[in-house]
């Protein structure tokens, strides 16, 4: 008897999200599935709803209707969304959003508050993660002393602090020069090669989207079926 297949990492079922009392349809009946350990890029023009979708998966906002399941569990009615965000999700923003008065290693450490780890354990883990993103030598520097690419790598280390199964990145290369952006994408590739992790990346840059296993094209709050970008990416892999 064969083992049952694992549930999808992310499953959206007919999800809508309206703003301004229903005047703005940010998401309009979106259904999609992301397999475990898959790297999916959400692409599309500004305002198409891709960031909104990412925020819903991160439980930073709730849908107007529809269901969002992560690793088979419905986010609606999940008792502790703080714990979900802390332990199952790693978030990377377009702007690094690091705390400016903390050092790189402290920025990573604070993501582990409330996990039950002791100070020494948190520090060791933060150093290990900074080593993984090639910033071991820069751990004592504060964000203003780091380059844009380095800050984003610290933010990625922070996102990985609690070993999430899901990495959600909202335009992570949007504020970086091309060289730093390539470095971040390379880091994502290496991450995927080294550990099981599902990546959902939002971008409007086709070149960044092309780095993913699969591209989901969005427009006007809907998924565009069979869009060229999706087929290109699928063909590449």
């Amino acid at each position: 008897m064969s083992e049952p297949s694992p549930p999808p990492a992310i499953e959206l079922v007919d999800v809508t999200k309206f703003f301004d009392r229903g005047l703005v349809h940010a998401l309009d009946g979106v259904s999609l599935t992301v397999a475990p350990n898959e790297w999916v890029a959400l692409a599309g023009p500004s305002g198409c709803g891709k960031s909104t979708l990412l925020h819903l998966v991160a439980a930073l906002d709730s849908p107007t209707s529809g269901e969002i399941l992560v690793n088979g569990r419905n986010l609606h009615g999940m008792p502790n969304l703080d714990r979900y965000r802390r332990s199952e999700v790693g978030l990377v923003f377009q702007l690094h959003n690091l705390l400016p008065n903390l050092t790189a290693v402290q920025n990573v450490e604070i993501a582990m508050f409330g996990t039950g780890l002791r100070h020494e354990q948190r520090l060791a883990r933060a150093r290990e993660l900074l080593g993984d993103v090639s910033l071991a030598a820069r751990e004592r520097l504060r964000p203003p002393e780091l380059s844009g690419g380095e800050r984003q790598r610290v933010a990625i280390a922070r996102a990985l602090a609690n070993g999430p199964s899901l990495l959600l990145a909202d335009e992570p290369t949007g504020s970086l020069d091309s060289s730093s952006a390539a470095g971040v994408l390379e880091l994502f590739r290496r991450l995927r090669a080294e550990q099981p992790i599902t990546i959902l990346l939002v971008t409007h840059d086709p070149q960044v989207a092309a780095a993913a296993d699969r591209v989901i094209q969005m427009k006007d709050g809907r998924v565009v079926p069979g869009a060229p970008a999706e087929s290109v990416a699928s063909a590449k892999h």
Binding site: V89, L91, L102, Q106, H119
Partner: protein, 372 residues
């Protein structure tokens, strides 16, 4: 990094604001400590007068502004001696005068020599004065030390020359810093014949003291008996007013401190809105955000309180040297005063930070992240 270190770091990173808030808290706490020590010390000084000697309780005129102005008819003192359960009643006249700039409140106590023992006075050097000697006095050992007077020396007391015939001890700072002379002598000098300021009652073993006090107060409605500190307000309205002012000052300090902390924390939370959004997005709970803000307020308030207590000590030293209080005010630093200051500090931090902390904790992460 520890959570507490993060809180301290946040305080330090906003130096000017934190320092200004801490200074405001310090001023409030300094006022609380100074007023607290002043009130308590003055109260203790006044109570010390009532407790001079070994009496079980004292009697004074009820509802006078200051216990020093109490007036008891000596005939009442005599009558009280016949009460069942009374071992002795000593009528004492208390008369303060300005000795010099450094001693603006020097006490003269008029006590009949035959009642010195019953009053709890021990002659430690020389002898007691004669009952009707118009120019003999004794000095408390503290006063003798202060003025470098010895048995046989002379001293001017309120314009009259007295020979110091003995040095005494009562076990009370106030009594030991005074001069003592025959009751009739002091009554004559003060033009208060047949009058005592206070009466000190010693009871026989097994006496129901409370019942005796009740009876005395029933028979002499103009008099009040004082046994405990809480009774004291009945015979000294000034100190009661000072105590009420002290309570009022504490309340005001709490309000001023809390508003200052509130102002600082509202600004801080507004500035850190985006940061709180990020922290909530990476998994911080509402409670952790709440503790972060409350902790920051507490660190600032406690720093200010430490500064305030230190400033309070300096202020008390200053008051101690104030001519009008010299000799009347012996600082008594009780834990009560500091506990009250600590409680007020926690109150300032708690009330001041509650609203901003709740506001920070209830922020929607996404809205907060988008905050400019």
């Amino acid at each position: 990094m520890y959570f507490a270190s993060l809180i301290v770091l946040n305080v330090v990173s906003r130096k000017v604001r934190s320092i200004l808030t801490a200074v405001a808290v310090a001023i409030s706490i300094m006022t609380v400590v100074t007023m607290g020590v002043l009130t308590h010390s003055l109260r203790q000084s006044a109570i010390a007068v009532l407790r001079t000697g070994t009496a079980d309780f004292s009697i004074a005129q009820e509802d006078v502004s200051d216990v020093i102005y109490s007036s008891i008819d000596e005939r009442s003192v005599t009558e009280l001696r016949s009460y069942s359960g009374v071992e002795s009643v000593v009528g004492v006249l208390v008369a303060p005068f300005r000795l010099d700039e450094d001693h603006p409140f020097f006490l003269q106590l008029g006590v009949p020599p035959q009642e010195l023992e019953a009053f709890g006075v021990h002659v430690v050097e020389g002898r007691a004065y004669e009952a009707s000697a118009p120019d003999e006095a004794m000095l408390g050992f503290r006063a003798a030390r202060e003025f470098n007077k010895h048995v046989g020396d002379h001293m001017l007391l309120d314009g009259d020359d007295f020979q110091i015939v003995g040095i005494y001890s009562t076990g009370q700072v106030f009594g030991d810093s005074a001069a003592m002379m025959p009751l009739v002598t002091l009554q004559a000098r003060e033009r208060k014949p047949g009058t005592a300021t206070l009466a000190f009652v010693r009871t026989t073993p097994g006496t129901d003291i409370q019942a005796l006090r009740n009876r005395i107060e029933q028979d002499y409605p103009e008099l009040a008996t004082v046994r405990t500190e809480s009774d004291f307000g009945r015979v000294d309205r000034n100190l009661e007013l000072l105590s009420a002012a002290n309570t009022g000052v504490s309340g005001l300090a709490l309000i001023i401190g809390a508003v200052t902390v509130l102002n600082m924390m509202v600004l801080t939370v507004f500035e850190r809105t985006r940061e709180f959004g990020v922290l909530r997005a990476i998994g911080w709970s509402r409670a952790r955000v709440l503790f972060d803000v409350m902790g920051e307020a507490l660190v600032v308030a406690l720093s200010g309180a430490a500064l305030g207590v230190a400033a309070g000590f300096v202020a008390i030293r200053f008051l101690e040297d104030t001519p009008t209080l010299r000799g009347l005010f012996y600082p008594d630093y009780t834990t009560d005063v500091f506990l009250r200051a600590l409680l007020i500090t926690f109150g300032m931090a708690g009330f001041g930070a509650l609203y901003p902390a709740a506001r920070a904790a209830l922020l929607k992460p996404l809205t907060a992240i988008r905050h400019e």
